[in-house]
């Protein structure tokens, strides 16, 4: 063995060690206020999340046109967690410690949120989470601008029952926490409303499930037993296309067995040939088709920003818009980007929805939202067929679940707790950082 041998590895490792340390020890300049963008740009979730990245960039650009914030320009820091959940946590840490961002807009899946949650609580950062989710959570450091189950699922079921006279229910979902929880809530809700056990069919499928033959056949049989049947779908993005195609092929049309989906929006439809889907429903808090001046303006800016007037807008985008507006207001109100100050200031602030009405940040870090039911049209858009007459306040802890019906979240004094048990008057767990 010659002595030359080790030299290369030594250089490599040494250089590496230095590289890592020096490369990662950086210092945030103070001329700008930094805004973190934590959305997957590669991997499976890129499909949905890239759009949200663009949205935040657009919002930042718009804000800067208005002269920035507190006299400083905003600067977006974009990272790619690559649909890799541990990487989400790592990147969140990077944004908060290395880039010292004032707030982070990001995450789509529940698991990614769960993965970054401890980081935000440890480093006391701010996360604005724009996607409808299963609830059962309220963190001091997270603002949930997407719908909680009571702002999407339950109104949708009410609509099906009252307007379409549905008596039998298929709860079909992808096997992960959002569908599981939502379906549990719905099941409890339906039973409370006198739906019999045998009139509810629950079915879970893996991510990206592509062979729906047997399940659709089962649904068809289930629906052909006399009572009006509907499918409440919490099926995750990718699995929807084969699901709807199978529905179409097996001749189940929307007016026989309507499907109401909670995860299918304009963005997803843009990847589907919607003709077989016409008449199926989706429940959201925003639809691109709603004609409201605010919405029209938003869409116009979006098309201008992406230089592509085919690009659609969707619910999570509105959520980001609302979250961003509220954050900007809060910072102005507090006169600083300090987390605690902003967190205290933001509660109670209001901003107009794109679909009319106003969004109000509640003490439980959720917001008020109108609930809209839309029918899929041939052009990949939704026609609103029903909507709540007033905004629904987001409920962090469902009243229909055993574990959580006694829990509330309230981040204002005196409670200041994300999971406060109203029975025992105690704050559970150790949410306080």
């Amino acid at each position: 063995m010659s002595r030359r041998d080790p030299i290369k590895p030594i250089l490599l490792c040494a250089g590496l060690a230095l590289g890592v340390t020096s490369g990662l020890v950086a210092h945030a300049e103070d001329e700008t206020i930094k805004v973190g963008v934590l959305h997957s740009l590669s991997g499976t979730m890129a499909i949905s999340e890239t759009t949200l990245k663009d949205t935040v960039l657009m919002l930042v650009e718009e804000q800067n046109k208005k002269g920035g914030l507190l006299g400083k320009q905003l600067e977006a820091v974009v990272v790619d967690p690559a649909s890799d959940w541990p990487l989400f946590a790592e990147k969140a840490r990077e944004l908060l410690t290395k880039d010292k961002v004032a707030a982070v807009f990001g995450c789509w899946t529940s698991v990614s949120r769960k993965s970054v949650l401890p980081v935000f609580e440890e480093l006391n950062g701010l996360l604005f989470y724009p996607v409808q989710y299963e609830g059962e959570e309220s963190s001091k450091n997270v603002f949930y601008t997407g719908a909680a189950p009571n702002q999407q699922a339950i109104p949708a079921v009410d609509y099906l029952r009252d307007e379409l006279g549905v008596e039998r229910w298929v709860l079909a979902g992808t096997d992960y926490v959002y569908p599981r929880t939502t379906n549990k809530i719905l099941e409890a809700y339906l039973k409370q409303n006198g739906v019999a056990e045998e009139d509810i069919m629950i079915d879970y499928t893996p991510f990206g499930h592509s062979d729906w033959q047997s399940i659709v056949a089962r649904i068809k049989r289930f629906g052909s037993e006399g009572k009006k049947t509907a499918v409440v779908s919490t099926i995750n993005g990718d699995a929807n296309v084969p699901f709807y195609k199978e529905l179409g092929n097996q001749g189940i049309s929307a007016d026989e067995i309507p499907v109401v989906a909670f995860s299918v929006g304009e963005e997803e439809l843009s990847g589907i040939d919607t003709k077989p889907l016409v008449g199926h429903l989706a429940a959201w808090n925003y639809f691109m088709s709603v004609d409201d001046p605010a919405n029209a303006a938003f869409i116009e800016t979006w098309h201008g920003f992406t230089k592509d007037d085919k690009r659609v807008t969707n619910d999570p985008m509105e959520a980001h818009k609302i979250g961003f507006d509220l954050w900007v207001q809060a910072v102005e109100k507090a006169g600083t980007t300090d987390t605690d100050a902003v967190e205290a200031a933001i509660i109670g602030l209001e901003t107009p929805n794109l679909t009319g009405g106003t969004a109000k940040m509640l003490p439980n870090h959720h917001i008020t939202k109108p609930v809209l039911i839309g029918e899929i049209q041939g052009d990949g858009q939704f026609a609103v067929v029903w909507q709540t007459d007033a905004e629904v306040p987001g409920d962090a802890w469902s009243d229909y679940l055993e574990g959580s019906k006694d829990l509330i979240a309230d981040w204002t004094p005196p409670i200041k707790c994300g999971n406060f048990n109203t029975k025992t008057q105690t704050c559970l767990g150790s949410q306080t950082p």
Binding site: L41, S42, D255
Partner: protein, 545 residues
């Protein structure tokens, strides 16, 4: 059993409908002109924002008895009906250079050009669709077109309203068309179950014997709920039992079909690999991405020929084969050929290639899924009987898979290329000594495998997502199929694919989709321990050691 390629159209009776029939009766009393006014008013109401108003309007239009009403209602159902913003008059709009060419919905008179801002689409919801369908049905029950009458008859199935029943009976008397008669008869039988006279009920029951139409089964179960007469009860129970029996058989047949079609998908996905991996021993991790490329070329072809979706697949198949094939040749020439005899290295290299291809699609086309349309002839189902329908897309793909398989078999067994391929795969140096240009053969073989993967992509694009990640979904299953079937043996791949498909579908009902998949995987792992060379191993001394 009657084979009619129409989609199943069945739904619960619509209460909104009875008013209409009464309306028909009252018609005589109302002076015509006022009726006409009512019609006009209703037409205007169609463009109202509230769905209640629209429904009322549809009601009026339906009872107007105006022969042209049907056209309007159909247009509305098909979503071709627009309202002119100026006077809210419903119009039919056809795209034209200037924007839209309008025709009056009722008269059909030409109303000249218009800009897209001058008209608004009249949206409808599910309730209105139901209402429209049954309205149209009643208006077409007597129509000269048998297909219309059939759908009408199906539409009115199980509607208890005596007037409807009368209408049906009347139609039944003069009906010649076999199918229509059958479904009218069924409707009458269902109606007679509600008759006060037990005899009538009994006859109704026996008339339902063996009918697989769900409405029959439901009606009988309901009858058993309230029936008091023992004879009728006994009869109903007997008939119902018979029906259940038949349904079981059909369900079994259905499961088998599902299994085979899932199997056919597996075979399609795996068969390209059976060549690149099976014959050439290349662990081609980019196989899934070649499938994806095939699917994307379908998308591109459809973009190129928007008007001709029905024919797009026939263009897409060769296109996909060429694109994926050439890509395969490129990969083989630039990377794989340096790695022969080092299969595990090919695994790593091709995995790298797969990453590159994915990102390439993401950056060049988009990270989003793209919409690939189904040709009309691919959608819908072949209705064997009311309880058993085979979806066309699955049916065609099953057939297609077999065709591809046979084609490959011929190429490998009958053509010069096939001969050389087998020679090279068995003994490279010897083959070269015999003057086989192995380099060329390798490139062609890999190209062939890749091309077939592309063709599989075309088929899969009809069933599932087309997106940058779609390849990942198939790569592992493909390897499982090939290894299970026995490497280097096309028949093995076919049998393995179909077996796994059926096994999966048999387990799914009680195990659930995920567990079924897991069980299949575990089974394969254990199987390979016992038969390391799969179902149909290559025999002889060449194989071992």
């Amino acid at each position: 059993m009657p084979m009619s390629p129409t989609r199943t159209q069945r739904r619960a009776p619509s209460p909104s409908w009875h008013g209409l029939l009464w309306g028909l009766v009252l018609l005589a009393l109302i002076p015509l002109n006022s009726l006409a006014d009512a019609l006009d008013a209703a037409l205007i109401d169609l463009s109202d924002r509230s769905f209640e108003v629209k429904q009322a309007a549809v009601e009026v239009i339906a009872v107007s008895g105006d022969p042209r009403a049907l056209k309007v209602l159909e247009a509305l159902l098909d979503g071709d009906l627009y309202a002119r913003t100026s006077d809210r008059r419903p119009v039919l709009a056809a795209a034209s250079p200037a924007g839209f060419r309008l025709r009056d919905a009722l008269e059909g008179t030409d109303l000249g050009e218009a800009d897209r801002r001058d008209i608004r689409k009249i949206t409808i919801n599910n309730r209105m669709r139901t209402q429209l369908r049954s309205a149209i049905a009643a208006l077409t029950l007597a129509s000269p077109d048998a297909v219309l009458r059939l759908s009408a008859a199906r539409e009115l199935l199980g509607d208890p309203d005596p007037l409807v029943v009368e209408a049906i009976r009347a139609q039944f008397e003069r009906e010649e068309d076999k199918q229509v008669r059958d479904s009218l008869a069924l409707a009458l039988a269902l109606a007679s179950l509600r008759d006060e006279d037990p005899e009538a009920r009994l006859s109704g029951v026996s008339a339902l014997a063996g009918s697989l139409d769900p409405s029959a089964r439901n009606a009988l179960t309901r009858l058993l709920g309230e029936e008091t007469d023992p004879h009728v009860r006994a009869g109903a129970q007997r008939v119902l039992a018979g029906i259940e029996q038949k349904l079981k058989l059909n369900a079994a047949a259905e499961t088998l079909f599902f299994g085979l079609s899932l199997g056919s998908v597996l075979v399609l996905a795996a068969i390209g690999l059976a060549i690149t991996f099976g014959v050439m021993g290349v662990i081609n991790m980019a196989h899934g991405e070649l499938i994806m490329i095939g699917a994307y070329s379908t998308y591109l072809v459809q973009q190129a020929m928007p008007g001709l979706i029905d024919y797009s697949l026939f263009v897409a198949i060769p296109a996909a084969f060429l694109i994926a094939g050439l890509l395969g040749v490129l990969i083989e020439r630039t990377v794989i050929r340096f790695l022969y005899g080092r299969p595990l290295e090919t695994l790593l290299a091709t995995f790298g290639i797969s990453l590159i291809l994915q990102q390439l699609v993401r950056t060049t086309i988009s990270a989003q899924n793209v919409a690939v349309q189904n040709p009309s002839w691919m959608s819908g189902a072949l209705q064997i009987n009311p309880a058993l329908a085979l979806t066309y897309s699955r049916l065609y793909i099953l057939v297609f898979a077999l065709l591809v398989f046979l084609a490959l078999l011929l190429i490998l067994k009958r053509t010069a290329l096939g001969l050389q391929v087998r020679a090279v795969s068995q003994n490279r140096s010897m083959a070269r000594a015999l003057g086989v240009r192995s380099a060329r053969v390798d490139a062609l073989t890999f190209g062939l495998g890749a091309g077939v993967a592309g063709v599989a992509g075309v088929a899969l694009s009809q069933l599932t997502n087309v997106g940058p990640n779609m390849g990942q979904a198939y790569i592992i299953d493909s390897f499982m199929v090939v290894v299970f079937g026995g490497v280097g043996n096309l028949w093995g791949t076919l049998v393995a694919g179909l077996t796994l498909g059926v096994a999966n579908k048999l387990m799914e009902p009680w195990a659930g989709a995920v567990l079924a998949k897991i069980l299949v995987l575990v089974f394969i792992i254990l199987f390979i321990q016992k038969r390391p060379r799969g179902l149909f191993p290559q025999r002889g001394r060449a194989a071992d050691g």
